[in-house]
Symmetry: none
Subunit: 222 residues, 4 copies
């Protein structure tokens, strides 16, 4: 029994009421259908918890459109069926084998605090993250293999950006390590995609497996 | 190196361009400030990956407002500093100790596929989820202690709803097991909250630690 | 040493105690975080002292959201670095260069006593406001250039409304005269906005630089 | 003609619509009366622009209750009828001689950035604020006489708190320098009050002219 739980913060109640009055009423029939008939999202997104990046808004997703995992640094861990609690892997399994999504997008972003923590840990500047009890340190160690690739690059800023993009590539590679993902991809039932969002510029960069680079999407002219 | 990654699906590119032209342009200054000055969200939410529940929309959150974890069945695992990759725990640690959020909300919902999987697994109806290699089964075992409390209840529908609400309570209890959460709560720097959303009705129910029940929020009359 | 100060009026003490018991307790954690971590408001508002217009309520602002100047007729004076005490300019400088807000809104309103004083002074009907010792007269002379534009218009009521809207435009123009504002606007780090509130109708009108007019916001239908 | 003004930020439009739907509708008759019959506020408050302190909320003020000046550090400048644009003095003149308020409250607060700027400027730690072109510096020089009284006190934190409270006392003294204020006070038509808000603790401290100290208001027991 939770002992310290309190009623919802007042401002959230206010905002919910506004959502209810101004948004829900217009979508009521669709929500009723979705409740009755279940969800059938077309795509899954691995995105960061960061409050500045919202995949639902970015991709104009309507209720029912997007199955979204959000964790620190949008990481997919490697395939490891070891009894442990793997939240991201469970979501992946559910999306691919039960919901049968057609696309999985790994969405990284600029100014990522989790990636910065990984950078500082790997460069020796954050010993507290190396401790066994640091959840952030242990979690971000998934990205540690990516650090070696960027550690020689010029400025800290450049290294961080490259490491953020490594996070997307490491996750894509890890995705491919799940047998049920590989199987669906091989049968052309599933496609994998990587992208990286520049928060300040509002520009989405897309990963190309051919060039092994991220290139900015052209923005429609007004 | 990921081998099978493809460019972004065309409909997502279109949606992104619409977001860029219609939304980003209006918020450009704020995004620039957020990129430069970092995020400082007031609250954290544990929400489900489900495509029908979007905490950002529900709480009218603007860029920078809400730090969001999304995993199957909005679960917080118990405190376990055991070297493993704990995505939810890492996000929690980052939100409380680095970002210093003031509130954490666990947001459950109706028609939850993850909770249904737990129900079926615990009642013996889904042996494949009991296998060691089932990520969904292992992940949902976090909620298994909650099943005992609801297994005697009338209809399957009633049991599922109660188990969805148990998922919120189990997560709240697990939150309290993290030393840094307990410390912040004890010093009045952090409050914990539980809620459960009825998708079809569009009604948010709030957990009260006093009554140990979820009660629907009154909707403002016009 | 102030000689005549008295303890707070009893009704204010009562209201404070109610705020403390009913509002503060729920937001305690957030206030503690705001005190410790400092404010970081997204927007600044220039609003009137008028007791009938409250920007905080109108824009549903939570603690920490809105940096607010309130003076008679929501005026921004022109840029004038002349050693004098410029309260509004000091607030503007602090908001833009220290707090780095992303938006500045000038919020005018109907039935404005300050604007009416300006109208009567400029039309010769209020000679006492033309005296050097009239603070209201001197302050409202900031808006005097706007009077010429409306002096030919039909009824007194129409002239007052137009002059209230001129007050917003004059302030926007004066905002642009501050070098640090112009610089931030030019770099897309700051946006300027004008609005005018009809108190009796409860309708907010928004200024468009294209049409040079104020148009009422559509109110969402249920 | 303002050149760079843009339509209102989208989130403010959303928040306004929520205010309109959920708040205005309930108060519509009162707003209509207030628009038609004019405002008649009982009290005036000098408060800070700080986004964390909202006198309207703190004193549970309804539309029409409170005439509010907000400037950096809630300062009343000394009486100086010198042709210049004195926003605070104009508001004061209007409130006392036209609206005929019964009370004026100067409301200071903890963690005040304006007061901190004054402290650093007076102690020589912020030479840029001493420049003639610094609006914050010139404005905060109103409080400079107060710095001498606190400069010998122990810690920086203690000095800042005392200087915040000096800001209230300086403003009260300046209020008394206005002939129309003195006259109204002498005829028992107006009372002056000083208070200081501790943001983190949510405790209001009230100034006593007898003890020359600020004492916390007792909080009603639950």
């Amino acid at each position: 029994m939770p002992k310290t739980a309190r009623l919802l913060p007042g401002y959230m109640v206010d905002r919910y009421r506004a959502w209810r009055a101004l948004r829900f009423e217009k979508d009521r029939a669709w929500y009723a259908r979705l409740a009755e008939g279940g969800q059938r999202p077309r795509a899954m997104v691995f995105s960061c918890c960061d409050s500045r990046v919202d995949a639902v808004g970015l991709f104009g997703a309507e209720p029912g459109d997007l199955f979204v995992v959000r964790n620190v640094a949008n990481l997919v861990p490697p395939y490891a069926p070891d009894h442990a609690h793997h939240g991201a892997s469970a979501a992946l399994e559910y999306a691919v084998t039960v919901l049968k999504v057609a696309h999985i997008v790994v969405l990284g972003h600029s100014n990522c605090g989790g990636v910065e923590a990984c950078h500082d840990m790997c460069s020796g500047a954050a010993p507290h993250l190396e401790e066994e009890t640091s959840f952030v340190g242990r979690w971000m160690s998934i990205l540690a293999p990516g650090y070696a690739k960027v550690s020689d690059t010029g400025s800290r800023e450049e290294r961080l950006r490259l490491l953020e993009q490594e996070a997307v590539q490491v996750s894509l590679r890890n995705l491919e390590s799940f047998p049920f993902v590989k199987s669906a991809v091989d049968r052309n039932l599933l496609t994998l995609h990587g992208a990286w969002m520049d928060i300040g510029e509002g520009v989405l960069h897309v990963f190309s497996a051919e060039t092994r680079r991220f290139a900015p999407l052209e923005i429609a002219s007004a």
